[in-house]
């Protein structure tokens, strides 16, 4: 009743960083509730992954062919069965592509409350409290829950992964796969790998990164020139990629790449949580944005409130040849 359950997310055979972030946080929460930290591991042939989850007291494993690759319907069925059998007090699910499918499904299916976009979780006087980053990171919402269980869907990168990276041999409990997996309406077909790009932005020392503030495709050569002068490459936020102004391989963030350059120069990027998770660990972040309230300024080391088009030509000129 006071246990903390973590959905152990894995993609193409590897546990994701989010899983370790949640395991670390989950362990801390379980200490407060006086319960156990339990990981729900759904998949096929996934037992070797349990060795990386030494921080958990127990791993509950459900194996089935339909769980071999993530499937929103199959995973929701299996996770629901785990929750119903364990009746944990807190369920931690990453706010990732998989977690988005699972957390809301579980909430609707079991009629239990859910907070998404969570960046902070605490137990205060026996009450679970969360902070969610809403409105693109511009306003935070502090919430509390009553009753058990409840679902907390946590932003990637909200907690250190290190605390969850403990090797060991947790108790493994195998649960029988629910019969409903035999009758699915969603079927996984295949993986599609991203096309390789001309540059690998994860290997660059310097990234000049552009967002919707760049306004049009015609302005891209100008920033490309700046990137060249700084000995780096261009990267971008999602809308630039969706507009097909740059290839997908240049996207930083949740559904793009995680980068850690020595310099990340963010031009006209607001700093939505989905972007921040991809670049917040850069060594030096300088952000230029015309909106003084842009969330990017909370993560940048240096900020400039102003029009990027005023600054850019001068910066380029001063950098010379």
């Amino acid at each position: 009743m006071s246990d903390v359950l973590v959905f152990a997310e894995h993609l193409q055979g590897n546990l994701t960083d989010s899983t370790f972030e949640l395991l670390g946080k989950g362990r801390e929460l379980a200490q407060t509730t006086g319960g156990h930290l339990i990981a729900a591991l759904l998949g096929k042939g996934v037992e070797p992954l349990t060795e990386q989850m030494g921080v958990a007291h127990k791993v509950v494993m459900v194996e089935h062919q339909q769980l071999a690759a993530f499937n929103p319907e199959a995973y929701a069925i299996a996770l629901k069965a785990v929750v119903q059998s364990l009746n944990p007090s807190i369920i931690l699910i990453p706010y990732t592509s998989m977690g988005m499918d699972l957390a809301s499904a579980l909430s609707a299916d079991l009629g239990i409350p859910l907070a998404a976009y969570v960046s902070e979780v605490k137990i205060e006087d026996g009450t679970l409290m969360t902070v969610s980053q809403m409105y693109g990171g511009k306003v935070n919402v502090e919430s509390e829950f009553s009753g058990n269980p409840k679902i907390v869907s946590v932003l990637a990168g909200a907690f250190p992964a290190e605390a969850g990276k403990v090797e060991g041999t947790p108790v493994i409990e195998t649960m029988e796969a629910p019969n409903a997996l035999a009758n699915l309406r969603v079927t996984f077909k295949q993986w599609i790998e991203p096309e390789g790009g001309d540059v690998d932005i994860t290997q660059q020392d310097v990234l000049v990164s552009i967002g919707r503030g760049i306004q049009s495709q015609e302005n891209i050569p100008m920033v490309e020139e700046l990137a060249r002068k700084l000995g780096g490459a261009l990267s971008a936020s999602r809308p630039i990629i969706d507009n097909k102004w740059l290839p997908k391989s240049r996207q930083v963030g949740k559904s793009g790449l995680k980068v850690k350059p020595r310099l990340y120069l963010a031009l006209g990027i607001s700093g939505a949580p989905e972007h921040i998770e991809g670049m917040k660990d850069a060594e030096l972040i300088i952000a230029v944005n015309s909106d003084p309230n842009a969330p990017i300024f909370e993560y940048a080391h240096y900020g400039v409130v102003g029009d990027l088009f005023d600054l850019l030509p001068i910066l380029k000129e001063k950098l010379g040849g």
């Binding site: 499918d101 499904a105 909430s107 935070n140 997908k248 793009g256």
Partner: protein
């Protein structure tokens, strides 16, 4: 092929957001709203599918704010039918309540496919699309970037980190949470929206919705200012100098 696209308005983040006197909601009196950008992608994908395989697109929105304009804009872009859902909805309207109201309204309509935006910036208690699928008892896939339909099923691509995608077959009817349409959402000039206002009618249906399923909001607060960046001030000249100085200090430029 009958496609339903639920549309909603969200606060325009370009504007300043203020917190109201209760401390538990945004001050909505002067708030500027716009269509949730992912809903715009869902509508675009729906219109493209209709162009490919035929059928109709119905835009559905819950009553409130400038909902009529939202629906007429959808008509101007090509939606065939407009439905406004009325009811005694809780405020602020959370995702669970919105999904229940939409489910109530959509139950009475014909549909093969429901396309929602993958998320919105105000979904504290989860994604409306996924909740809606469960209230309707149909499957869902979210974070979808590609949809094809044939023989009573959809073939979709779901995106994960790093641009890796999974391909799925989904038996219809289903809800898909659209991340990005195949092309940039089309633009509806004001003249066309005005014409839609004259020519289209908005049907009204009523639905009920409880807000259960969300946590209790204690308070809203702005992220701490100054917790982050050291601000560089002055003319563009002076700022450029300062940036170059920092880069030299860190050994990034000579």
């Amino acid at each position: 092929m009958h496609i339903i696209v639920p549309l909603r308005q969200v606060p325009d983040l370009v504007e300043d957001l203020e917190i109201d006197a209760s401390g538990k909601d945004l001050d909505r009196e002067w708030l500027k709203y716009k269509m949730n950008e992912f809903d715009d992608h869902a509508l675009e994908e729906a219109l493209l599918l209709k162009e490919e395989v035929g059928g109709a697109v119905t835009a559905v929105a819950l009553d409130g704010g400038e909902v009529d304009k939202l629906l007429f804009t959808a008509a101007a872009k090509g939606a065939d039918r407009l439905v406004k859902v009325r009811g005694d909805f809780p405020t602020p309207l959370n995702s669970h309540a919105m999904a229940r109201a939409l489910a109530g309204a959509i139950q009475g309509l014909d549909y093969d496919l429901i396309l929602t935006g993958v998320q919105a910036v105000d979904e504290l208690d989860g994604q409306v699309g996924v909740l809606l699928a469960h209230y309707l008892g149909i499957p869902h896939v979210s974070v979808v970037t590609d949809v094809q339909v044939h023989d009573g099923k959809a073939v979709v691509h779901k995106e994960y980190a790093g641009g890796v995608m999974g391909e799925f077959d989904v038996i219809l009817p289903a809800v898909l949470g659209i991340q990005a349409a195949r092309q940039t959402p089309r633009y509806a000039p004001v003249s066309r929206v005005r014409m839609a206002m004259r020519k289209s009618t908005i049907e009204e249906v009523s639905a009920e919705a409880s807000a259960e399923g969300a946590p209790d909001i204690r308070k809203l607060f702005k992220p701490e200012k100054g917790a982050g960046a050291q601000m560089l001030e002055g003319s563009p000249e002076a700022v450029a100098e300062k940036i170059i100085h920092i880069l030299k200090e860190k050994g990034i430029v000579q």
